[in-house]
Amino acid sequence: MESLDPRVGRLGIPENWGTLEPKSNLDQLETFEVFSIMKENKPFTHVGIVHAPDEEMALVFAKEQYGRRDSTLAMCIANSSNVLVSPFTDNNQNLYDFLEPSKALEDSVSEYQVFHLYKRGKQHQHVGEAEGKGYEDALNRAKEQYDGSKPVLNIWLIKSEHLLSTDEEDAQIWATTPEKKFREATDYRAADKIKRFKQEKA
């Protein structure tokens, strides 16, 4: 096998290279947004993204990528291209105040999951679901149900059918994470040992 290391292969200029070729696209996999429930009675919160070839693998990767350290109770994922993102407001402005009645109504009703961002730098969190004839309609339904005292800076809508969640019956996969403190650098208390060593030497 030829080396894939660019440091090894970079001098391999072919003979008769002639014409210049357009740069090709990267063969990146699609990205999936990952949401976790970290504690009992807390909502799904966005934790990051994973690359994966499909939904099932995205969920499998997400479990170790985002669940290997912090305690987790459930996870779900959605293809990034299925996440509908609203504009951002300035701080303290509520996005729902700028919402206009939906003009284009679709024929059929879809169910969307609604995620709110309450603070810049924080993560979106799940607030509930809203049905609507298209996303504009669903946003207006969401306003009726979820517009509360806190300003909402940004909203994500994801059709329910586009979310894949871990099964309740597989809940055991999260069981031993709290016992894996050895994965944390802080669990290896080298400083104490060095201190003791120095005291013994002194």
């Binding site: 099932e56 499998v60 990767f61 479990k63 290997r68 597989d170 031993t176 050895f182």
Partner: protein, 249 residues
């Protein structure tokens, strides 16, 4: 007699986990994508943790401490099956081994959850929760690569070539009857039946076919007979430990 039989069971399980955990960790930093690298390394780490628990139980039964057991024995004292000691090969080989071995693991823990030895039953219950994720991971990959034109042939070759080694996981132990009679473990035969039905069920969701299970198993590992691959692995694994076996880490 009963204690010797239990020790034999613990040694083979622990040695399997330690050796395969070490092998799979060789992919660390080389996985096909970052997400897979993390997942595969995490599972390797789970296996090392499981071996530590089984060596600790052995220690409580009068054997030496876990580090000494893990790092100072020569290859012929190891009771792992030969499958786990083979080099990682290309990713197809490692994934198929992961699929075959971790299903055996999952069902072994399922059976051991009912063990009359409470210490073992508790460990099995805990490890099955880790193993559950391992088989979810294996399933996803088998479906991914077992349904794609570019990979079916390679995966099928690994299944065909791996089956004799995989059947060696279930090499019966001389004292197995004692374990069965005493309600410690229901035995390799029962385990292999459950394993087979899972393997068939997953492969039926792919374009892959069942490898020939009438193939003669490659046995010997459980009696300390190993391939030339094991000793170099053990030498490398214990390299740092051997510099100063008395050192406190």
């Amino acid at each position: 007699m009963k204690n010797e039989a239990i020790k034999e069971l613990l040694y083979k399980m622990a040695d399997d986990q330690l050796v395969l955990g070490h092998r799979n960790s060789e992919w660390n930093g080389l996985g096909p994508i970052l997400e897979e690298d993390i997942a595969f390394s995490s599972m390797a780490q789970d296996k090392i943790g499981q071996s530590l628990e089984f060596y600790s139980i052995l220690n409580e039964m009068g054997e030496k401490d876990p580090d000494t057991i893990a790092f100072t024995r020569k290859a012929d004292k190891f009771k792992c099956c030969q499958y786990v000691e083979h080099p990682i090969g290309e990713y197809d080989f490692s994934l198929v081994r992961h699929f075959f071995f971790d299903y055996a693991d999952y069902h072994r823990f399922e059976l051991l959850k009912n063990s009359k030895v409470e210490r073992i039953a508790m460990a099995a219950k805990k490890f099955q929760s880790e193993s559950k994720y391992h088989i979810m991971h294996a399933n996803a990959w088998m479906k991914q690569l077992g349904n794609s034109d570019v990979s079916i042939e390679r995966m099928q070759n690994c299944l065909n070539e791996g089956i004799a080694l995989a059947l060696g996981i279930f090499e019966p132990s001389p004292m197995e009857n004692v374990l069965i009679e005493e309600g410690v473990f229901e035995g390799e035969k029962k385990l292999s039946e459950r394993w087979l039905s899972s393997i068939q069920s997953i492969l039926s969701k792919t374009e892959l076919s069942m490898p020939d299970i009438s193939t003669a198993p490659i046995n010997g590992g459980r009696q300390g007979k190993h391939t030339p691959h094991l000793q170099p692995l053990l030498d490398e694994m214990s390299e740092v430990f051997s510099i100063d076996p008395e050192a406190e880490w």
